[in-house]
Amino acid sequence: MSDITAVLGVIGSDCHAVGNKILDHALTAEGIKVVNLGVMVSQDEFINAAVETGAQAILVASIYGHGEIDCDGLRGRCLERGLDKVVLYVGGNLVIGKRDFAEVETLFRGMGYDRVFPPTVDLKEMANLLKQDVAARS
């Protein structure tokens, strides 16, 4: 069993709830403590929850296409709030339209996310990466 706590949520005005429930289920099954904020989560709510629970990671989902607008600036706010070690993941249908994933990845890495995932990600593999990344940070 790992001792990881991760904050999970769907950012912005995004109502897509299904993937969120499944992510929760899958991460929990992998022994990760999940603080699930559900859908329509603001950047501040993510950060508050991480601060409160001492989470090592924040997993941001954006499905509805406004990711480019909604996800920008989260890394900066984390730093402002003293979360300088927190692992930031982002995944989903991150941008508007069918775009080359490599391009999308570069865009979100540029925003300070440690890893960027397409909708087809294997959740078990992702959980393993998370464990490694958290271990490497602490």
Binding site: S13, V18, I69, I96
Partner: protein
Amino acid sequence: MKLKSEKMTMEAFQAEREEVMRTWPTGQGVDFEDGVRYQLALPESKRFSSALAKAEREGKTLCQPRAGVALVDEHIKLLQFLEPSCDLLPSTIDAYTRLNHYEKAAEGVARSLAAGTSLLNGFPAVNHGLAECRRVVEALKKPVQVRHGTPDARLLGEITLAAGFTAYEGGGISYNIPYAKKVPLERSIRHWQYCDRLVGLYEERGVRINREPFGPLSGTLVPPFVSHCVAIIEGLLALEQGCKCITLGYGQAGNIVQDIAAIRSLRELGHEFFRAAGYEDYALSTVFHQWMGGFPENEAMAFSVIAWGSAMAALSGATKVIVKTPHEASGIPTKEANKQGLDATTQLLNMVREQVFPASPVVDLEVELIKREVRAVMAKVFELGNGDVAVGAVRAFEAGVLDVPFAPATCNAGKLMPVRDNEGAVRIFEVGRVPLPDDVLAYHKEKIAERAKAENRAPVFQMVVDDIYAISKSKLIGRPR
């Protein structure tokens, strides 16, 4: 509870209207009388209700895409591009507007202008305002509907109906439960009574606006009776406010028998409940949504999901079908991908249009099953509301009597858990507090047990997860590997 399904008085409406129109600057210039004049001047060919009535008469299934981008000219170009390939047009509204975050929408418009491409997932009609929306309507020859997901759609309705849109999707339940998190149901129902009343006022002035409750809800393994109940309640709420042209909707489940039975029972139940409530003078039609859950990434595979939905739409006798695109799993489609979805749909509609799905006792049985489920739940809704359907709906959600699977709204119990049976029909695995008759429930359990046995595993949540992924992984039923 001050809620009641009763026609809003003119005073109440007017008082509320003044408030609504102040919530964003573009509300200011919108005049109802001007809207009526504008609507009355529209040619018949742009009237949604007329197209539906004609399709009903001819037994034809019309097709309609989803489409919306941030900027007006681009939006017009998009719709003009799609127009020759479809019967009915949409304007799909962006997600910020849906939640009345007009400043955010403004930011999206500005960033889209800068980026030279739409960064919004729809058309921000409120931000663009009346005149710009009229430009959209005027650039097109076919009827245009507002399609959205807005718990408080009052300002959007005022602007778009005055602008000549002739159909308005949504409802106080169907645009709350799947689309919002913390909006009290009582509030969204009240706000939609306003929208319905607005449509009713147009109707009274000789302008027929089509009203379509959003059928598919969360789009994910929703059992037909669940969405039918919501559709019927929203139909009743709309009729009460004077709406006269109602389209009830349903999202494809994937099992032939269930899908055909669903549209048939939806139509019959609609009439049953509407007439029982004393409404006679209305036009009823149905809409079938091609598969609303997760799509396969592979475009060839997506085409098959689209084709199969089209076949079922036509065979079930739905009045129209809402069309997906080969880009569904990835993102908002390009206009070309959107047209491909329409072309695929048209081909299949045309190939089955004249065919009659053979009469079968198996289908009749499924129709009866759905009807019994709906009647049981609706009886409880009326009971909880002491005869008032609005009050009943709110209390039914509170009590878990109405329960939509996988919905984000906190006012939804989320106890009902569906799963596919061994032939892929959506059945009830955990009923929560939904009052289905015992024998009906036993039937569901038996059907699920059949599958569990075939798969040699107990029907646990993993089975549901597998079903959620199934179609995107090129299956109907999520079998273990």
